[in-house]
Symmetry: C2
């Protein structure tokens, strides 16, 4: 068929509501789409009417089954799986084999927030997905949203985070009573891979500079190896400027003048910290898209904010991060004109400011905000 299958993990908390908003968005595109798609392989899908199957439970929380969305102009057929902190009653598992297989087969997917319990002894689902699917690079574009005022109006950068190793090795133990250690692992293979992705990204997205973020003045071997790999890759991209910035200094520069940065590449924990810092500059995690790139061309786009259990089920969540992440997914599929249109509609709605969810200081519901976006398509 000419449809692209994509996996959808609505996730926990507000996840299902905002995932619903993504589905609406793609349905809306059907109604308003104009002009042909630029990807030959997708042209056949043109003109088909949207066909949406919804599960019996509209929030999909307990539904592990597949929901299929046939959208003519943005030809995505969603395969929906529940992955989250509630155990699936059918399989008694947090994460089923089918869910992983779905992403492996489809190669593209979109996921909502999944809660990570602190200190409960079982591993974070986010981490498990990253490990299992070998999602080696986490890419987060971060730009000031026109009309949505923060203290910064000049942010336009991309953080690219190594996503599989470093401080996230999970290797920890007690040496003696009162003395514990954790291992940070850096490998040549993973460092080259993420550096290669960063430079390739910079080149294909018209970016000028890659900054490698590190603390090699302290961790000379681990961060030193990371830098060595970045330098090797940098040599293959003479057209892209390359610099190295120590993480503490990087954070200081970011809050003083984020316009100093373009593409940033870094080990796992630094990426975790800096990508959230950058999101803060433009208004928070509710507004920033994210996409995880895996071996074999897998792309799992993801809203990285929390599952916000306090407002879950109240139709108050801001779906922007998940919507923009779905745009990232479309870009990964090189469906750029659709991506542009959807992104423009989102940005226009936010800029207009008439319908804003509570986190942005407004009082619109998720539905009202989503409808306003549809109106802008």
């Amino acid at each position: 068929s000419n449809l692209i299958r994509a996996t959808l993990f609505p996730g926990d908390g507000i996840g299902p509501e905002i995932a619903e908003s993504v589905r609406q968005r793609y349905a809306a595109v059907v109604l308003w789409a104009e002009g042909p798609l630029d990807k030959a392989s997708l042209v056949e899908g043109k003109g088909k009417t949207g066909h949406i199957l919804t599960s019996a439970d509209s929030t999909c929380r307990t539904t592990l089954g597949i929901m299929i969305f046939k959208v003519a102009e943005v030809p995505i057929e969603w395969e929906e799986h529940y992955v989250g902190t509630e155990v699936d009653p059918r399989t008694n598992s947090f994460l089923t084999w089918e869910s992983l297989e779905s992403v492996r087969r489809n190669k593209v997917g979109l996921k909502g927030p999944m809660a990570t319990p602190i200190g409960k002894g079982h591993r974070s689902l986010n981490l498990t997905l990253r490990k299992e699917l070998n999602l080696y690079a986490n890419v987060r574009p971060c730009y000031s949203l026109p009309g949505y005022k923060t203290r910064y109006d000049d942010v336009n950068l991309i953080t690219i985070r190594e996503n599989t190793e470093g401080e996230y090795s999970g290797l920890e133990h007690q040496v003696v009573r009162g003395v514990v250690e954790s291992l940070k692992i850096i490998t040549r293979q993973a460092s080259l891979r993420v550096a290669e992705y960063a430079f390739h990204y910079a080149k294909t997205h018209g970016r000028e500079r890659v900054s490698a973020i590190h603390k090699a003045n302290i961790m000379q071997k681990t961060d030193g190896l990371f830098l060595k790999c970045c330098r090797e890759v940098a040599e293959k991209y003479p057209e892209i400027k390359y610099e190295e910035v120590v993480i503490d200094n990087c954070c200081m520069m970011l809050v003083k003048n984020p316009a100093l940065f373009d593409v940033l590449v870094m080990p796992n924990l630094y990426g975790d910290i800096i990508s959230d810092l950058c999101a803060g500059l433009i208004g928070g995690l509710g507004l920033t898209p994210s996409c995880n790139i895996g071996e074999g061309g897998i792309a799992l786009a993801e809203a990285v904010h929390g599952s916000a259990p306090d407002i879950a089920g109240k139709n108050l969540a801001n779906p922007t991060a998940l919507l923009l992440s779905s745009v990232s997914m479309l870009r990964h599929l090189e469906i750029h004109d659709k991506a542009d249109r959807i992104q423009d509609a989102i940005l226009k709605t936010i800029a207009e400011g008439k319908y804003r969810t509570g986190d942005l200081g407004g009082n619109a519901t998720t539905t009202e905000f989503t409808n306003a976006i549809c109106d802008h398509l």
Copy 2:
């Protein structure tokens, strides 16, 4: 004698120039001091005239000898030692036994910036000082400076960083070719010690809340132990509010609304990152004091900015961080009225804005700026 001896390490690059400014400051206090000191043990020193011995080389770069500053009203007698990245030609050493002994004996000291070469295989001098002197807590007050405009005008927080272990263990090795690891060590003893310091600080400085910053959702054992220790100490201080914040979220909150924080306590690397981020909020490391607290009551105040070799020797450096650090040193000695006076003079000079060094957008020399502060005393 009734003088308090303090060790002075001018350090590298601009270090000597800004240290000179601190000496001027204390000399100036002699001329303008009014009223008695509130510490009985210091009263005898009152009325003595300042007596300053300068080394032959006015920048002190090559002088390892002791320069003695006798200042009547702020009765500090400096013992100056060169510690920096140039090898002492007399001893062929970076850091002499005498320098360490000086701090151990005097229990108070002030240090300028020391360059840390990246990947040169020898250990940072800053780290060596911390380890040798067991400087377990790094305290950095960070507040918006009236009249010096940044994007934030509501910063008023203290970062307290564990300073001896964590990611700074120095334990790293290659496992196999292309695979390296470093060890993060967290101990119950060091965690309790820094937590105790943080709560004690909060209580004695009229602060309301301590936030422990961590990544225990990922490093459950190491950061988990750190949190456990903070909780234990928190129970002994029921009057101080206690909360735990994940580091990535903390950075996002800091850039969105730093007024949310009061006292922050955290493991080594997070402290390195967050203290620089916070400095960035109010204008940079050139403006923030820092003081290292060690076992046995040692306090080594320190300017934490770089040694700025590009402007060294040009009389262009901003001495504010070192001056405010010397104020921290006075506070540690409980000479609060002098500390207040000097701090007020610094803040007034910056607020007035007539004499500002290049880093603050002005074109005053170090000397002009320092003289302006003297005029405000």
